[in-house]
């Protein structure tokens, strides 16, 4: 039994369904916070500059991985395909899943006339990210670009804590 993996856009009806995967990757994530985060990504935007969340599903409709994407203007490439919040569980056989996930991103980037793909890992060097980085490198991605990030202290009253013990950044609130 080799599963057929299919790329499908996440829609409002499947937000909840994706939650167990998200909770697996981000322990402590609440369903409410996930829904609040992802809903704006699913709002229709200009067809020329699409954004959304792409999932990889098996034949049974189980969501095995997902990523958020956005087509942005870029001074050098005109259009770039940005993907982040990549969620791929640590399953045996995940190499196939990585290939399907990245393959879906590449097809989407091509369909949207993008000149490059930028992949963002915001959470730091977690082990699963490191493996994905290695997989990306093997698939021809350059890991040479320089990026820097800094955690900012939230102002008092701007913690974004919804009483679920999870602190949200101000940007996160804006996203919602």
């Amino acid at each position: 039994m080799v599963d057929t993996l299919t790329a499908r856009f996440l829609d409002r009806r499947t937000i909840d369904k994706a939650y167990p995967l998200v909770r697996n990757i981000v322990p402590g994530m609440t369903a409410a916070r996930w829904a609040r985060f992802v809903r704006p990504h699913l709002m229709p935007r200009s067809p020329d500059w699409p954004r959304g969340v792409m999932t990889i599903q098996n034949a049974g409709g189980c969501i095995l991985s997902l990523f958020a994407f956005e087509v942005r203007a870029d001074l050098h490439e005109t259009r770039i395909f940005c993907m982040d919040h990549i969620m791929i569980p640590d399953l045996p056989g995940r190499g196939t899943l990585w290939a399907s996930t990245i393959g879906a991103a590449e097809r989407l980037a091509e369909m949207n006339g993008c000149g490059a793909i930028k992949v963002e890992f915001a959470r730091g060097p977690e082990r699963s990210d490191q493996k994905l980085l290695m997989a990306l490198e093997a698939m021809g991605y350059s890991l040479a670009s320089v990026r820097a990030s800094k955690r900012l202290k939230a102002k008092p009253g701007d913690t974004g804590d919804d009483g679920d013990g999870v602190t949200r950044s101000v940007r996160g609130l804006c996203d919602a």
């Binding site: 039994m1 080799v2 599963d3 909840d16 369904k17 994706a18 939650y19 167990p20 995967l21 909770r23 697996n24 990757i25 322990p27 402590g28 369903a31 098996n58 049974g60 189980c62 969501i63 095995l64 569980p89 640590d90 399953l91 045996p92 056989g93 995940r94 190499g95 196939t96 899943l97 977690e126 082990r127 699963s128 013990g165």
Partner: protein, 258 residues
């Protein structure tokens, strides 16, 4: 830590788990346990070639777990992955306030061992006497490197915990207690038929408390709903925790919210 460490039976330091588990190695010169495995024909193992199965069997141990005994706990180092070959298992997470949330029920043929950063993402406990094939994660990964096409096949096996949790999210999306309970019973029926069983009557391996926990209802509500379904002639309650689906089309309509 209650990890399924299934130590050597001669070990002086037996954990409480080791008392509940009997493990047996299957060296390659013995007949493969896969040859007599009843779950084989409806699990992903069925599609493995004889040679692939032999190589998997060489790194595998069979363990037996008594009811209500842990197989592993959330956040334990994820040293093993498992295939259930008999029985039933519940997977659950402990919430911050100490409550337990059951996120899925897994049955013979299902795969167990979803991790996050090398620790188990859930706890797993046997509901009834269970038998599992246990694979050391690192040796399995090494085997995948040697037999790349095995990777695709294992991925098909390895997504059962996620699928169970996603089924639960869909169930919780149903509005009424009646819809949730009926959908759950039909889910068990579908799972049993998919795994080669007759399906009807449905065997409830889990307690009503577990069902309530899984469906986000109280135990009383689950009991009341089942009693009502019985009074309406939609189900019959049999001995040995079995429930006969007496009117399948009506039950399906309820599950769909009609």
């Amino acid at each position: 830590m209650h990890s399924a460490t299934c130590r050597d039976e001669t070990s002086d330091t037996r954990s409480r788990f080791s008392l509940a588990v009997r493990a047996s190695a299957h060296p390659m010169h013995l007949a493969s346990p896969c040859d007599t495995c009843q779950a084989r024909e409806f699990s992903a193992c069925a599609s493995l070639t004889g040679e692939e199965q032999k190589r998997l069997a060489a790194i595998m141990r069979t363990i037996n777990v008594e009811p209500h005994r842990p197989i592993f706990d959330e956040a334990d180092p994820a040293e093993y992955v498992y295939t259930i070959t008999a029985g039933a298992v519940k997977v659950y997470k402990l919430l911050g306030d100490g409550r337990r949330q059951i996120t899925g029920f897994l049955f013979a043929g299902d795969f167990l061992g979803l991790t996050h950063n090398e620790v188990y993402a859930y706890s797993a406990e046997a509901l009834v006497p269970a038998r599992l094939c246990r694979f050391p994660r690192r040796r399995l990964e090494a085997l995948l490197a040697e037999i790349p096409h095995l990777e695709e096949r294992l991925l098909a096996m390895a997504s059962h915990e996620l699928a169970a949790a996603q089924d639960q999210m869909m169930l919780l999306g149903r509005k009424s207690a009646r819809e949730r309970v009926v959908s759950f019973i039909l889910m068990l029926f579908n799972s049993a038929t998919r795994h080669g069983g007759p399906g009807n009557p449905v065997f409830l391996a889990m307690s009503r408390g577990d069902i309530a926990d899984y469906l986000g209802l109280t135990t009383e509500t689950v009991s009341r709903t089942v009693t009502l379904l019985k009074k309406q002639g939609l189900v019959e309650l049999l001995d040995d925790r079995r429930i006969r689906l007496a009117n399948m089309s009506a039950l399906r309509e309820i599950a769909e919210g009609f």
